[in-house]
Symmetry: C2
Amino acid sequence: MLLSRGIYMKLTIGEIARQAGVSKGTISRVINEKSTVAKDTREMVLAVMERLGYQPDPVARELSMRSKHTLGIWVGAGENRLSPYFSLIWRALLREMQVRATQFVELPADITEVNRRFDAVLMFRCADLEARLAALASRGTPAVLIGHHPGISGVAPDDPGGGRLAAARLLALGHRRLLYLNVNEDLQWATERATGFQSELDAQDLAGIELTTRRGEGTVLGGYRMMRDAWQQGLRPTGVFCAIDEMAVGALGALEDFGVDIPGQVSVVGFDGLTEMRPGLTTVAQDIQGIAHEAIDLALAAIDSPAVIQKIVPVSFLEGSTLGPAPAGKRNRAKA
Amino acid sequence: MLLSRGIYMKLTIGEIARQAGVSKGTISRVINEKSTVAKDTREMVLAVMERLGYQPDPVARELSMRSKHTLGIWVGAGENRLSPYFSLIWRALLREMQVRATQFVELPADITEVNRRFDAVLMFRCADLEARLAALASRGTPAVLIGHHPGISGVAPDDPGGGRLAAARLLALGHRRLLYLNVNEDLQWATERATGFQSELDAQDLAGIELTTRRGEGTVLGGYRMMRDAWQQGLRPTGVFCAIDEMAVGALGALEDFGVDIPGQVSVVGFDGLTEMRPGLTTVAQDIQGIAHEAIDLALAAIDSPAVIQKIVPVSFLEGSTLGPAPAGKRNRAKA
DNA sequence: CTGAAAGCGCTTACAG
DNA sequence: CTGAAAGCGCTTACAG
């Protein structure tokens, strides 16, 4: 449909207002779902927007709506920015800030270069966390962590719960000989996933449970090597739980190379929910968008109050094609 | 330093203008490096901005500057959005659009859901490219490709040149027994990298060159498996060139598992420049930011003109620790 | 070389 | 329930 002022004119709230015969304020109220618009008016406006394919301009919304706050995201040198998980959480944060009309800026790794004032800063867990927190504290800038750490607001997935979930599902399917592939660094989330897994095994206290734990590099290659070595050394788990999906992908690769039937002989469960990496992967999924949402909430809250709030976002079990019942006849039988 | 209107006030151009004793217009001209500002004025303004740690608000700039155009990025279902390369190009595009004050929006995978009008759309190469181009053409929306394709504007790295570069370096270091690990899909860039590599070998026409090519999955695991199998089958290249860095990382892993000295016995060269994945990786690096820059240029140009422009962005050779001279005594010697 | 003013597209008190 | 108007922080003709 031709717009009256020329086809290349950007569609704005003004044009919608004109065609709908109401004021721009009313259009805005419809967009923002304010309750103060008459039903008829609302529907008429929506129809016009629909007909013209109008979408409000996010940049203008942001400038107009925003809280006057600037949030920084501080990615240090340590994080693996190329990891799939990081890529997802990053995009989730962007999307969230756009929706919340909050300005965000990426800080340089070296904070001494930062001249600009930030109302709050979002960080990821990293090796030099303490130093960074000190740097922020000395500037009086509140910090919020994706992860958790004593004395600072943060949001993290339910790592222990995820570990328990994985254990419960494996046990319910009859798996007794279990292998846990962990990362070789002492990372808090890794510890919690392991602890959760173990606690569920303890809680169920079934006969014949055998758990072997191995540690290695938290990558596809790391998972591959651990699984390959374990198998070569005669370990014959029926259920494998991996601290992160990358390792699960590697472990699956190794099992495939041995001609092992999945999930006929061995079931594999990962953690994070990156099924895009490996369609059909069974995994404990993080709610990445939810975490991003909470992180922004916490950051905004931290500007006004020094209260430390730690949020846990639930995880869910994504059942794919790499999980099945333990092979018949092997249940409860001791390792060869 | 305390701002006169309260410490929590957002620092704006108005405050800088007030403290510098000039108008907002002048501040803006300094920010934008217009040549029409007196040297003294400029320096004074810069000093004030520096002292206060002022940074212009990108959102306001965008709203005020922008070309009135909306660019869409169309990521289909096909791309591996979790790949490191995708993650980097995505962030580069974001940054570029921010700098260029161009509005951008991600389109849903299914274009029939798109009601909104886009002035141009940026796409990546994918399986259903033709169908997508047709969909855009029927709407009269110009498309620009990251990659290249007949009849459509696009920007791509110099894939053939990169292949040649890799070959030239390996040859110059005395490597004669070469292995090329390629992806198992017929992707244009893969073909061009291979062709470039081969063409340099042909051009130099040295004695004793042996090139083996293998194809496999374009992942770390794929590279690992190809290298492992090749080695197990007795292939003893001194130089390995991989179509993408992921494969190089995998190949290096396999060689490590065999206890092969790198680069003493074998040199490995990747493609893309993802040294973050593997510090010290020798690789043909793409200029990702440059590609993003050109892509936006082309998209903006496509709005005004139907001309088809194909841009090639140069690559560079990143010399890391996985490249060295061919082992002495093995040069020019035939394979065992 | 610089200032005053209009404008980017939207939101939101303030009236009515 | 709705309109008119001011404002978000910046840029850019237009004068001078």
